[in-house]
Symmetry: C2
Subunit: 106 residues, 2 copies
Amino acid sequence: MGTSKKEKFSTSQNRLADLAKALGHPARIAILQFLAAKDVCICGDIVDELPLSQATVSQHLAELKQAGLIKGEIEGPKVCYCINKKAWQEAKQLLAQFMTDVKSCC
Amino acid sequence: MGTSKKEKFSTSQNRLADLAKALGHPARIAILQFLAAKDVCICGDIVDELPLSQATVSQHLAELKQAGLIKGEIEGPKVCYCINKKAWQEAKQLLAQFMTDVKSCC
DNA sequence: TTTATATATCGTAATAATACGATAAAGGTT
DNA sequence: AACCTTTATCGTATTATTACGATATATAAA
């Protein structure tokens, strides 16, 4: 019964939902804020910043990567993570447009 | 093991994540768009608009209500749903600020 | 080559989310 | 009162998410 009905909704509704879902965990918010605060690509360090195990952080990073919001480049034994500029602007625009379009009447 | 570690993150990180999570399903995106398109509070009708059962729609509405994004007023045997204007503006501002703050470096 | 370091992935357990039928609750209609 | 309509809630099945230890992988250093 818990089968997903996502295919019954439009592509753009699903894209918005996927983006929002990627932001839907405080650890992922924290990761993005950390990446932003440094203003450069971060090589290593991320696991130490979060109160979660290495495996769990890696999983959250993979989800952000899957949503296209970050990218990771292998640099020696480490991986350098960055916000994906293009995708981020796109996501920002999509969400902002959606939030603006949804006018409230009362 | 799947115990939540949300308490290890800040209130604002959790608030952002909760808002995003509420938007993290195409059915809820569709509900919000439907409410917006009518530009008035919608009494009834919502279930007929979605390819989901009445019980499931009611559950999605409850989640949006829980996040504070919509409110429902009982009108006779029906319920009138509306975007919660104040909360919506707040959410929009919070998300926009977050998306802007997260600058990408590459 | 051995060792250390950094990440990813596997396996798995626990919890949360999704979905729906059945039923309850509340208000209107006849 | 009996009945219909609308919505919420309960019970429950299924799937997804979250989390972590253990292990694999890949690179650098000794």
